[in-house]
């Protein structure tokens, strides 16, 4: 289907370009804003994959809540650029050689992923080959979440409480 491919490639382009800009921008504020753009592309991909609830959650939770937290922190810390202090330049990890090794590792990972994908079979089948009209239903999602995944769901609440307490304790100003 032509529209399917068109949607996929345009959303994929938005996502990849946004992510690349996150990594290449010097100013963290621009990085956060590009990541939000990239998340909108991902939300579009989720809609194409017939997962509208995940798409909405992606925008509300990720782009709306988590990224605002990041932006708030960047602006609270007055967005320092990547350079400044003396130890930056004197440290061995800052030398061009170390940066080149890091880039080589990233390229190696990309090559490995490509190799694994090229060896895999059964990847040519269309993603929506299995017909299931209920896959995008929020009702079914809720039913499965609160029955089969009940335990994981409850454990998640403990994780969130731990994270909340941890964040408050860590960021608190210490009186000395």
């Amino acid at each position: 289907m032509a529209t399917d491919a068109l949607l996929f490639y345009s959303f994929a382009a938005v996502t990849v370009i946004g992510s690349l800009m996150v990594v290449t921008q010097k100013n963290p504020v621009y990085s956060v804003l590009s990541l939000i753009a990239s998340f909108f592309g991902l939300a579009g991909l989720y809609v194409v994959l017939e997962a509208p609830f995940v798409a909405v959650a992606q925008i509300i939770i990720y782009a709306g809540a988590i990224m605002v937290l990041f932006l708030f922190t960047v602006m609270l810390l007055n967005a320092p650029r990547e350079d400044a202090a003396e130890w930056d330049r004197s440290h061995p990890l800052y030398r061009p050689m170390a940066v080149r090794i890091g880039a080589a590792l990233a390229v190696l990972l990309a090559l490995e992923l490509g190799w694994a994908l090229s060896r895999a079979t059964d990847l040519g089948g269309a993603v929506n080959a299995v017909e299931n009209p209920t896959i995008s239903s929020v009702t079914l999602l809720g039913e499965v979440l609160f029955t089969r995944y009940m335990f994981a769901f409850e454990v998640t609440s403990i994780l969130i409480i731990a994270a909340m307490v941890g964040a408050v304790v860590l960021a608190r100003k210490r009186e000395e």
Partner: protein
């Protein structure tokens, strides 16, 4: 669209995130790169779930999102605490265990 396209896109995003973690020297950008990696995995989960015709992939995505939110909250609290000590966001500035 074939499943392979989604997996290639997911792998590409994961590689971009890894490159960010390796190459950038800014704690906030490092955390953002980790978020890119988590999202790459989310995309693979949803694509696999669609191929299977089940909702399990979408549900795992919700759990990943929750973990990402917790990680962002604690990570940013750590960044703020570190910044108070050294007035820097460069990870090389924090090489000593005690100061």
């Amino acid at each position: 669209m074939p499943l392979g396209h989604y997996l290639v896109l997911s792998g590409l995003l994961f590689a971009i995130g890894t490159a960010g973690v390796f190459l950038r020297r800014n704690l906030i950008t490092l955390l953002l790169s980790v978020e890119i990696m988590l999202n790459a995995v989310n995309l693979a989960f949803v694509a696999f779930g669609r191929v299977q015709g089940t909702v399990d992939g979408q549900i795992i995505t919700f759990f990943v999102m929750t973990v990402a939110a917790a990680e962002a909250a604690v990570g940013l609290a750590l960044v703020i605490a570190l910044f108070r000590h050294r007035e820097s966001l460069n990870p090389e500035a924090f090489t000593s265990l005690k100061w």
